[in-house]
């Protein structure tokens, strides 16, 4: 099924201005094409028959905002997504980070936490877990709530297990969680080095200095100007010789910080060189 097309461009601009004005969430520099699909989708899910209904609800019911933020942002993610990427982290990047006395990693736009847990498993297996802190942030408090629990649908485990093995994992993937009915609950020990916090890449500033920042499949939802702004934020948050990891189809090329970075082979990982 394709979504309805009841939200027009002018409507969208107006709504985004309202939300920014009333609630301080600025979506005006999000990619319009994706955002429009999400707006049409939320109208369908919550049975608004017109755009005016959605706008009325948002303006007059502040409790609806969290639902809106949750549905307007894309929260599709996977454990060990792009196994080759995790293999590079495991075999090349983490050994470099292991030379530091203390490692700080930022998972920006962590959604429901699948990448943070994948990292935690990698860190365990490379014996770096105890000297690492993973800062997992997202604009959306309700996904962070889910992330902190480490509970994922059991029917995804087959795929995740395959990804894990392809990424170079040698253990039995199921040793990291217990199955309960239709969910897999990952051992709470894995989240013991994670710090969950809301952070809005549009409006919040740098809050620490990291050796590794992961931000995968988040920037595709931003327009060029906002992408550049976020690259600047990451640049301010990475220590010299730190690494920035992007999604499989995202790039630092053509960005305003490109010249400070060197790409790691063909991988979507860039090293800060100046």
């Amino acid at each position: 099924m394709v979504e309805l097309d009841i939200v027009k461009n002018d409507d969208m601009e107006m709504l985004l201005k309202d939300i920014s004005h009333l609630y301080g969430y600025d979506f005006t520099q999000y990619s319009k094409a994706s955002l429009k699909r999400r707006l049409n989708r939320i109208c369908m899910l919550d049975k608004f028959t017109s755009f005016a209904e959605l706008r009325y609800r948002l303006i007059h019911d502040s409790t609806y905002l969290s639902r809106f933020i949750e549905e307007i942002t894309v929260n599709v993610t996977e454990m060990f997504r792009d196994p080759h990427f995790y293999a590079t982290l495991r075999h090349h990047i983490l050994p470099i980070l292991g030379t530091y006395p203390f490692i700080r990693i930022w998972v920006a736009g962590c959604s429901t936490g699948e990448e943070a847990y994948s990292l935690a498993i990698l860190l365990k297996e490379t014996n770096l877990f105890d000297k690492t802190l993973i800062y997992a942030t997202d604009i959306n408090p309700s996904v962070l709530e889910k992330a902190s629990k480490g509970i994922f649908p059991l029917n995804h485990m087959k795929q995740y297990s395959r990804n894990y093995i392809l990424s170079g994992g040698k253990n039995d993937f199921s040793s990291y969680y217990v199955s309960m009915y239709d969910v897999a609950k990952f051992h709470s020990n894995l989240s013991s080095r994670m710090i969950f916090s809301t952070h809005n890449l549009v409006s919040d500033s740098s809050f620490n200095e990291f050796q590794l920042i992961l931000c995968r499949n988040v920037l595709i939802y931003f327009d060029k100007d906002l992408q550049n702004k976020v690259f600047k934020l990451f640049d301010d948050s990475l220590q010299p010789l730190g690494f920035l990891a992007l999604g499989a189809k995202e790039t630092l090329r053509f960005s305003n910080v490109e010249h400070h970075y060197k790409q790691w082979n063909e991988d979507r990982i860039w090293k800060k060189i100046s």
Binding site: V2, D5, S31, S34, R37, V76, N217, I220, A248, K249
Partner: protein
Amino acid sequence: MKNRKATEILLIGGSAGSISVLLEVLPHLNDHLSFPIMVIVHRQAHPESILEGLLAFRSRLPVEEAYDKMILKASRIYLVPADYHLLFEDKQMVSLDYSEKVNYSRPSIDVTFQSAAQIFMGHTTALLLSGANADGLEGLRCIAQQQGDVLVQDPDTAEIAYMPQQALLNLQVDAVLKPREMASFINQLSTKY
């Protein structure tokens, strides 16, 4: 006969059995077309996809995988990357999107067809090839509603007829094409020769 508008984007969507059609059609396209071509085919996500190279080998037009915020150019063939939806921001720029699968598919043909219909309106031309699911049908409907051109592969020539058949059963299509007719049809859509 409707009063058709000049093609500003050509979309080609397909699933099982569509690659062989592309390989047959691409070598016969003119090396100057007045519009870009966006190809959406269902395939497995794989880091080193050979499809781009395979199509490029057969095509006189440059073939490249579309990337986020890419600027479209005429006379080029773009391939939607595996595991992403492709949307049009405007007539020049595309975005990638990693949201939920549509029709169990990412990329979904419907998603890109619908997005093109919203941006290019009646200047959209779309061709639906062989395939085993109904992805593409709703997208073609959107394009037809905007008075764009809707083309389908002749189901008798399709390895898997279901996809073009669904379009023929449900929509008024502008042309039903055999693979050997497709290149010259596409060449004629171009405003410069």
